[in-house]
Amino acid sequence: MPDLLHRYGPDLLTGFGMTLFTWALGTLLGFALGFAIELLRRFGPKRLAWPIRAYVEFIRGTPFLVQLFVLYYGGPLIGLRLDALPAGVLGLTIYGSAYFTEILRAGFDAVPKGQIEAARAMGFTDGVIVRRIMVPVMMVSALPALVNFAIILTKETVILSMITVPEIMFQTQTMMSETFAFVEPILILALFFWGFVEVISRLGRRLERRFTHYLLERS
């Protein structure tokens, strides 16, 4: 193990960094796109409802592996030629947006209608209602599911190895095929992801406390 760490240490560090980077970018952009889509569905023209639903079902319904393969290896056939890293981040963004949209939809649906009606009656604009009432209340029920999905995305990033993005799976696979060691790479992957996910879920818990603070005080 020390030999392997010495030999592959720098590659592994690059891999960790690349995984963190692609995950962070993919999650943020995916969430932003998902949020935009949900707002469009809720407040946009009715005729957009059907295309949005088709988009969500198609992206959710097919494996990320296939989407990424088609984007990267099939794209050039129709003139869409992306480098590995942009293709990977774009793939994660699109994949994430479909799931985030669905989670946000459920969250907004759980906001009691009375609160929105009351706000409207008081003359609040849609923008204010979304920002001040719907989002904070929605976050209470949606946050665990959002964190869940952000965690799932950490593991989807390993599929980027298929299109040669040098993330952690790519590096450990190289280590495995060069040396035929397998316990070490498995251990490295397990510990890295466990630590990574633990950090994300702690951050999630902290956010959750912030949004549910007003609920807890009463009990």
Partner: protein
């Protein structure tokens, strides 16, 4: 977190210990003969060595191992596993033998026992039909893909140093490299000659092999557990020699590779 971590490392450490302790004592050949069957695992993703046709396992390895099992007097059983689980599975004895063609290298031989060479694995280039290479040396300044972490990648690197610069891109499997050759991101793919020949034979309209191979001679072999597997390896090596001497190997090579090649009948210098 610290408790969980130590528990996990204890589990892994334990596994390594137990494996080391049981490795040296047993005689695997006797066990296999007593059971009357040998379970061989491979990744059925490696045409023409291992592949699935309409859900059935076929290929050079299959035909060769059917013959080997006949020589051993046992029934072969085949298992399809991704490469990730082949070495762990071998260690914990989910099966007896790795039937995947593995390029022989000194580093790998430290961990596992190799059989005699079962095929040539020398590296060559494949390109799109009508591509830019007429000799391997034309690869200078081009972008070439290969399966990363393989002995072929190391040879490609050496060749690149020799002729003065090839941009090398590593892929998880050869399949992805071929796909990227089709997209035009790659000018060529480097891989073992038997694989590339089969590719060009299967899709002659799209791919063409650049002759001759450029690497130094290397070989594929099969793999067993060290120590315990020694008797098994010895018996399989005898079987391989017999199959080569009586012409069956030549017939198989012609069937799957299109041409016969001589293989060394003793362990090559790694």
């Amino acid at each position: 977190m610290t408790f969980q971590t130590s528990l996990k490392s204890a589990l892994f450490g334990l596994s390594a210990l137990t494996l080391a302790a049981t490795g040296a004592l047993a005689d695997q050949l006797a066990d296999i003969k007593a059971a009357g069957k040998i379970v061989a695992a491979t990744e059925m993703h490696y045409a023409p060595f291992d592949m699935l046709e309409n859900g059935e396992y076929v290929g050079f390895d299959r035909d060769l191992f059917d013959e080997i099992a006949k020589e051993l007097g046992v029934t072969p059983e085949y298992q399809d596993l991704p490469w990730t689980s082949i070495l762990p599975g071998l260690e914990v004895k989910k099966f007896d033998f790795v039937l995947a063609p593995v390029t022989m290298t000194a580093e790998r031989a430290e961990r596992y026992a190799f059989t005699l060479p079962i095929s040539d694995a020398t590296v060559a280039f494949v390109q799109r039909k009508g591509g830019p290479l007429s000799t391997p040396e034309d690869a200078k300044g081009k972008t070439v893909g290969t399966q990363k972490g393989t002995a072929q990648e190391i040879q490609l690197q050496a060749f690149s140093d020799k002729i003065g610069g090839i941009t090398i891109k590593g892929y998880g499997t050869p399949d992805e490299a071929y796909a990227d050759l089709m997209t035009g991101r790659l000018d060529a793919v480097a891989g073992s000659a038997p694989l590339l020949n089969y590719l060009a034979k299967t899709r002659p309209a799209d791919f063409a092999v650049v002759n001759p191979p450029f690497g130094k001679p290397t070989y594929f072999a099969f793999v067993a557990r060290k120590g315990e597997g020694d008797t098994l390896i010895a018996a399989i090596n005898e079987a391989i020699k017999k199959i080569e001497d009586d012409g069956r190997m030549k017939a198989l090579q012609e069937k799957w590779f299109g041409a016969a090649t001589e293989l060394p009948q003793e362990m090559p210098q790694l």
